[in-house]
């Protein structure tokens, strides 16, 4: 007879937590272990920094907690819908109500490192409450718990909303625009904040960060106790509402078949052109760009970032970025297209089994990328330069744009075949239309690599522009064409010789006898160091080193957020040199340490 139908909510939740921990234990191998340790280390630093804020600069606590909330909201969007260890689909046949399954899944969602780290960060609330006496500590503790649950729930509801409603190009593009805007706000959001008078003086911002769910704890601690109690009760009510919403979304998700983000279509598709070689491959690729919601979302992210970043600086009446929106868009679009072969999965076998198709495929992908990104980047560049009225920008825009477009078209196919990040085959992906199933950390480092490599291809053009504006334009066109042609040639040669290895990397995972250095084999302190270096080394090298170097060389007066330019003149050059050295040192460490420690190839097991 059937048993187990009467499993109580507590028991169900307990099983969920055990299953989640078992999944985590089993996946703690190689790179994912490194990622976890690095993530937890970074998270802990931030958590204790938050407590430090509560002690030292309490006025900024609500703002700091709002940043944590943003992490929960945008984290899952950045990494393609969140890492759902416990998928609701696994439990769709359990004889239990959606509400009960949602509650149990929520319990499972807490059995991970992120909520634990966040709870430590939220201990800043009782620490802050200490200023208001023992009652403040108690309220702070209660608020820490409700705030944590609220943050995790908001994150889950957003993932569920994306999973359910990103079914069309418009919604995918909307998610991309929100993401791009968020990245732009993260990097340059200080500009409008400064323009509006700073976070500590403007009363509206103090109210805003307390009205956000992350700020309710602070509000409760500061309020008289009846109001504090009311705020806490309201917090619990919000949790109940979010749980109900999540349960409803989950039960809809498991009965609606989403297949890898395919937008709806009308009418019979336009026939393929009667051609061959690279042109037919480009036609295939253009259809993929138009029919894949992941690609549409990534493009929207790239272009919205490129448009919003200069707009934010306009708040300070800084126009210097406006002409370069098209250049930023080109680099960002290249960064989001770096895993072209990984995204298509094992479909590569058809290219490999068709005699001579490797060259056509690489060239076709380059053409399609140029056709998708090129016109928009050109329009953005021309419009931006015209509108800004900065005539000195013309040679830079006209010289760098062809260099970057060609460099991008070359770098993306080269990296796609040399640094492929395997994902899940498109037809096997789960209920989340914006996730490729690839290792997000590896994909992100690939994107960083593009962000460094593509601008590097434009360095000759930049140098030539300094000598003579028109020489720069010729150099830009020339290096762009050379990069697209040459790097593409290396890419298809490599695909011809190593395509099978790429295919089997996607089918069976990394080859066990591979002797290339991986961070997974390093001692833990070096793993963390290497990953952190990769993540932040660009900061001293580019924005704090090379950019102020260029600005100081040309006497551009805008100090912006460049530390060196804010210092007394005597310290400016030493600071710039120090920053560049620091960035190079970090990159050197991140690249050389794995090589050195791995040079006697260690015995690895599968």
């Amino acid at each position: 007879m059937a048993h187990g139908l009467t499993l109580g909510p507590a028991a169900l939740a307990q099983h969920m937590i055990r299953m989640r921990l078992a999944l985590m234990r089993n996946s703690l191998r190689g790179d994912s272990a490194t990622n976890l340790y690095t993530g937890v280390s970074a998270g802990l630093i931030l958590a204790f920094a938050t407590i430090a804020v509560a002690v030292l600069w309490p006025a900024y606590l609500p703002l700091t907690l709002a940043v944590w909330l943003c992490g929960w909201i945008f984290g899952p969007i950045f990494i393609g819908g969140g890492n759902e260890a416990l998928r609701p689909e696994y439990f769709s046949m359990l004889p239990a109500t959606p509400g009960r399954i949602a509650a149990a899944l929520l319990a499972g969602a807490f059995a991970g490192p992120a909520p634990a780290v966040n709870l430590i960060a939220l201990m800043s609330l009782p620490v802050y409450g200490w200023r208001f006496g023992p009652a403040g500590v108690l309220i702070g503790l209660a608020a820490a718990v409700t705030t944590l649950i609220t943050m995790v729930m908001i994150s889950r509801v957003i993932v569920a909303l994306i999973g359910l409603f990103v079914r069309s190009r418009a919604t995918a593009a909307a998610v991309g625009i929100v993401t791009g805007t968020a990245i732009a706000l993260c990097s340059n959001g200080w500009a409008p904040a400064v323009a509006l008078g700073g976070a500590d003086t403007a009363a509206w911002s103090q109210i805003l960060v307390r009205v956000l769910p992350s700020g309710w704890g602070v509000a409760a601690i500061e309020a008289p106790w009846p109001l504090a109690l009311a705020i806490l009760v309201a917090g619990v009510g919000v949790i109940a509402l979010l749980l109900a919403a999540w349960a409803a979304l989950l039960s809809r998700r498991v009965v609606s078949a989403a297949r890898g983000g395919v937008p709806p279509r009308r009418g019979t598709p336009r026939p393929f052109p009667s051609t061959g070689g690279a042109r037919i491959a480009a036609a295939k690729e253009l259809r993929a760009w138009w029919r894949d919601l992941v690609r549409i979302q990534l493009l929207a992210t790239a272009f919205s970032y490129a448009v919003v970043t200069p707009l934010l600086l306009l708040a300070l009446d800084v126009w210097v970025m406006v002409p370069f929106a098209g250049l930023i868009a080109t680099v960002m679009a290249a960064a989001s297209s770096a895993n072209l072969y990984g995204a298509d999965g094992t479909a590569l076998w058809l290219t490999l089994m068709t005699p001579g198709a490797e060259r056509a495929d690489v060239r076709g992908r380059q053409r399609a990328w140029l056709l998708i990104v090129g016109p928009a980047a050109v329009i953005l560049s021309l419009a931006g330069t015209l509108i800004s009225g900065l005539t000195w920008a013309w040679p830079w825009v006209l010289g760098l744009l062809p260099a970057l477009l060609g460099g991008g078209a070359g770098v993306i196919v080269l990296l796609a075949v040399t640094s492929l990040v395997p994902g899940t085959d498109p037809h096997k992906r789960g209920g989340n239309p914006l996730s490729t199933g690839a290792d997000e950390t590896a994909e992100t480092s690939l994107a960083w690599l593009v962000l460094i490599a593509v601008p590097a291809t434009a360095l000759p053009a930049a140098g030539a522009i300094l000598l003579h504006p028109w020489a720069g334009i010729a150099t830009g066109v020339l290096t762009g064409a050379l990069c697209a042609w040459g790097l593409g040639r290396i890419a298809y040669r490599r695909l011809e010789n190593h395509g099978i290895d790429l295919l089997n990397l996607m089918k069976h995972g990394p080859s066990p006898q591979a002797d290339k250095p991986t961070t997974a084999d390093l001692p833990i302190q070096h793993r963390i160091g290497v990953t952190i270096s990769y993540v932040i080394a660009w900061l001293p090298l580019f924005p704090q080193g090379l950019v102020p170097l260029v600005m100081k060389t040309f006497g551009i007066g805008d100090r912006s957020w460049f530390l060196a330019l804010h210092l007394p003149p005597i310290w400016q050059w030493p600071t710039i040199i120090f920053m560049i050295a620091l960035g190079l040192l970090m990159y050197g460490y991140a690249i050389l340490i794995p090589m050195r420690l791995n040079s006697p190839s260690p015995t690895t097991t599968r």
Binding site: R259, G277, T346, A347, I500
Partner: protein, 255 residues
């Protein structure tokens, strides 16, 4: 020069290990030209790995493979021109419709556009994929994916078809169609290799069989030689040394 006297496929000492697990251990197979060859074996025996190495989709640790005398790993381009392959579980250009996939691959192979259009139309009709004109491959059912994969394998009229589990998840009507197509192909001189664990099907279609177990060939040759006086299924169970279970335990289910 490859001729019909050369075997359609010959593998010599193929070997592949994944970490410590040896998936394929020294496999020698000879598929005579014009034969309909069935490769059978239990789950995990190494059928898929063997076929992938034989057609050039997986680099063997040792050994070689020849198609009509052309070395798959030395003269890759020529070998690829001779075969049509249906691998198990690989992705397709997922964002294209069935017609677009065939058109794209035909043109990429350099077939004249008129020929591509004609063959595409016929293949879609015969495999009953023409109704799903607006459906992208990513939205296909498992059976439809098999059928479009088979169409891709047939499109350039190869001399050897290598099909991994071609009948898995295919409905009986489509399976009958596919069988008829394959028989016609074999009768007109083409060579076919299929892998399967449905013995009745292999018995019905194939004239040669190879039995693989634990990465090794345990029997190979004309069907009648391998099965002897019993059915292929009985011979297979005997050969792989398996014991059919299912009679013990599960008292709670039958109470």
């Amino acid at each position: 020069m490859p001729t019909h006297q050369e075997p359609a496929l010959r593998t010599i000492g193929l070997r592949k290990a994944f970490g410590d697990h040896v998936a394929v251990d020294d496999i020698d197979l000879t598929v005579p030209a014009g034969s309909f060859y069935g490769l059978v074996g239990p789950n995990g025996a190494g059928k898929t790995t063997t076929l992938a190495m034989a057609v050039g989709l997986l680099r063997p640790d040792a050994g070689s493979a020849e198609i009509f005398g052309v070395d798959v790993w030395r003269d890759t381009v020529r070998a690829k021109g001779l075969i049509g392959v249906l691998p198990d579980g690989n992705a397709m250009p997922e964002r294209l419709t069935g017609r677009e996939v065939l058109t794209y691959l035909g043109l990429l192979r350099g077939l004249p556009p008129a020929v591509v259009a004609e063959r595409t139309e016929e293949l879609l009709q015969i495999l009953e994929l023409d109704a799903a004109e607006r459906t992208l491959v990513i939205e296909y059912s498992t059976g439809m994916r098999k059928k479009i994969g088979l169409a891709v394998a047939l499109l350039h009229a190869p001399r050897l078809l290598v099909l991994d589990e071609p009948f898995e998840a295919v409905d009986p009507v489509s399976a009958a169609t596919i069988k008829t197509i394959l028989r016609r192909f074999a009768d007109s001189g083409g060579s076919v290799i299929i892998s399967s664990h449905v013995m009745a099907l292999v018995e019905q279609l194939c004239d040669h069989v190879g039995v693989i177990s634990d990465g090794r060939v345990v029997a190979a040759g004309p069907l009648d030689d391998v099965r002897g006086a019993v059915t292929l299924e009985d011979a297979f169970v005997e050969l792989v040394g398996a014991r059919t279970g299912g009679t013990e335990g599960l008292a709670w289910l039958t109470a």
